[in-house]
């Protein structure tokens, strides 16, 4: 049934157990050598012995590619000729405009919908006895891959022309109430929103968890005091809870922004970018494999990177503040 080459289990053991043991042994040898150095030199050298391998990994997989991509983004399709900003001009013209526009739609809708739903869930789950169960259920999809989520929701969005039995859940419900079926994945704008909702469904749990933890951290005394002062539930939420959970709100917004930027799996699986749903990451895949245009691919990758920079900056600032 399964055709797995015989060397695979061996390789897995080497990777999962052998490499750590080897590295540990290498550290041991390194420490032996360090022990013979003068105390000061030993202290100076030790961090690099320990950090060496993790750093090399990060440099090879992240730092080196980032720098190189900046270079190839101003080169031609095969990275042989210098083309200046041509690739960037291409990235903001013609069909690319629609694609960038879709990403902007994601960037606006996905964070806002997630934030609102997650706030509602975090607040309301706290008010019912089965709140923990609800939280567990909302967390379940966070274990599911974007790919599997896309498959699951493709079924739910499934569309048959009017008159045929609707086997997709959404259109069956519409039919039940006497409405015409909607081609969820084909009709422009609706299809983008349908894709965005899949991402909401998959990651609402994470956002709810983060906000819920933050809300629980807001002092009960403060809420009680406001209640004694005669504040209504909504007023308490708006003027006591919300201002106190802004850092958590920021985390939810930044994580969803990043997801919107790099979203690939859902679009690739559900529409493959057809019907006006294409996004930058999916186009990048197309440029890499179908068009083999490394210049275009690099340029739109750099655009993604720069779009992510503000978030990186926010994180760095937050981190420095917390470290103090």
């Amino acid at each position: 049934m399964a055709r797995i080459p015989a060397y695979v289990p061996f390789l897995v053991v080497v990777g999962a157990i052998g490499i750590p043991i080897l590295v540990y042994a290498a550290l041991g040898i390194g420490e032996r050598v360090l022990a013979h150095l003068p105390a000061r030199l030993e202290r100076r050298t030790r961090p690099w012995l320990w950090l060496g391998l993790p750093l090399v990994l990060v440099v090879v997989i992240l730092v080196y590619p980032i720098v190189t991509t900046l270079g190839t983004s101003i080169m031609g399709a095969r990275s042989e000729t210098f083309v200046g900003l041509d690739n960037y001009r291409w990235a903001f013209s013609g069909t690319m405009l629609g694609i960038v526009g879709n990403n902007i739609l994601w960037l606006v809708v996905y964070p806002i919908v997630t934030l609102i739903l997650a706030l509602a869930a975090a607040v309301l789950f706290d008010k019912v006895r089965y709140g923990p169960l609800a939280m567990s259920i909302v967390l379940l999809p966070t274990a599911i891959s974007f790919t599997a989520g896309a498959v699951i929701w493709s079924e739910i969005y499934s569309f048959q022309p009017e008159g045929s039995p609707q086997i997709g859940l959404l259109n069956a419900i519409l039919h039940l109430f006497g409405f015409a079926p909607v081609p969820w994945l084909i009709q422009p704008i609706v299809n983008n929103l349908a894709l965005i909702f899949v991402a909401v469904w998959l990651h609402l749990g994470v956002a709810t968890l983060i906000l819920s933890a933050a809300i629980k951290n807001v002092g009960g005394d403060m809420v009680e005091a406001a209640r004694l002062d005669g504040a209504g539930e909504f007023h308490i939420f708006a003027s006591i809870i919300l201002p106190n959970i802004l850092p958590a709100v920021l985390v939810v917004l930044t994580t969803t922004l990043i997801t919107s930027l790099k979203v690939f799996d859902i679009v690739y699986v559900m529409t493959n970018g057809n019907f006006g749903t294409d996004v930058i990451a999916n186009r990048l895949y197309y440029e890499l494999f179908a068009a083999s245009n490394f210049g275009h691919a690099s340029a739109i990758a750099v655009i993604l990177l720069f779009a992510a920079l503000p978030v990186a900056l926010i994180n760095v600032v937050q981190f420095r503040r917390e470290a103090k």
Partner: protein, 288 residues
């Protein structure tokens, strides 16, 4: 605590409470039903599935295991699951190992550039993977890593280690300095302290990191899609599913079965280790 604030008995209060239940139940339904639908669909015969929605299985209960047989037999699902395991297990182990190594050194040892290094790692947390693809495809091709398992481990480990270091550093910093000093005076070397003090104490947070690393690796589509092409191995389960989704020749039943098999592993993991999972998400609440 019996001293409860008196509840408002007015009709607005009651309607508000009903409203709360309606919203919460609606969220539960929307978040639970799709997974149920997937499972039920995977058990329905092709003829049934082609003519009616999965909910009709509750009206006309006709079930079959045939979809699973087809999925395992013809769709390479078993081999794909094996490939995904062969990707995710070593990746998880390596992420945990290198992250704890890196965060221990970063937190415990003093050296020039330590703060700068921490900040760079934080900035790298949100790097879109796309930025790495062009150079790494070339590098992998030249280094012979294309289409190999170690190539995928390398990528996913390198990509996740900044997060791992970030998640662990807070925990390792919370181990009191005196514990390390005490171990030093007891005659323990740096390596011994790492093994006998840091690793055992970090076990819970390492479990959290492990779950997240496993989920990300298992659920990743882009990297195995790009870097595992041309290998003798079956495609990773996500890659396999994305291919199946595009074609409808086999009917949807086997696809549902394969999809369900692909989500069972992470679902069991998250359900059985929910506490660690939650701690991981809350501890690392910054990554995109």
């Amino acid at each position: 605590m019996s001293a409860r604030a008196p509840k408002r008995r007015g009709s607005t209060g009651r309607w508000a409470r009903i409203g709360v239940h309606v919203v919460v139940v609606a969220i539960i339904v929307v978040w639970f039903v799709p997974t149920i639908g997937l499972f039920v669909s995977s058990l329905r015969p092709q003829a049934e599935a082609a003519s009616s929605g999965w909910w009709m299985a509750f009206v006309r209960p006709i079930y079959t295991a045939q979809n699973y047989e087809l999925a395992l037999d013809q769709l390479q699902t078993a081999s794909s699951l094996a490939t995904s395991l062969a990707i995710a297990v070593p990746t998880t182990a390596l992420v945990m190992f290198f992250s704890v190594l890196g965060s221990y050194a970063l937190v415990r040892m003093r050296f020039a550039g330590r703060t700068a290094l921490s900040l760079i790692l934080v900035a790298l947390l949100v790097t879109p993977p796309q930025i790495t693809l062009v150079p790494l495809l070339r590098l992998y091709y030249m280094a012979g890593l294309s289409g190999t398992l170690p190539g995928i481990w390398l990528y996913q480990t390198g990509f996740t280690v900044p997060f791992g270091v970030f998640l662990l550093r807070g925990f390792i910093a919370s181990i009191p300095e005196e514990l390390y000093e005490s171990a030093h005076l007891d005659g323990a070397s740096e390596l011994r302290i790492f093994r006998s003090i840091v690793l055992p104490l970090a076990r819970p947070i390492l479990a959290s990191l492990g779950i997240l690393a496993f989920l990300w690796s298992w659920n990743d589509l882009l990297i195995p899609l790009l870097f595992l092409g041309g290998s003798p191995l079956a495609p990773a389960i996500t890659v396999n599913l994305s291919g199946l989704a595009a074609q409808t020749a086999q009917g949807r039943g086997p696809l549902m079965a394969a999809t369900f098999l692909s989500v069972v592993v992470p679902l069991i993991l998250v359900i059985s280790m929910q506490r660690h999972f939650v701690r991981g998400i809350l501890g690392g609440a910054v990554k995109g």
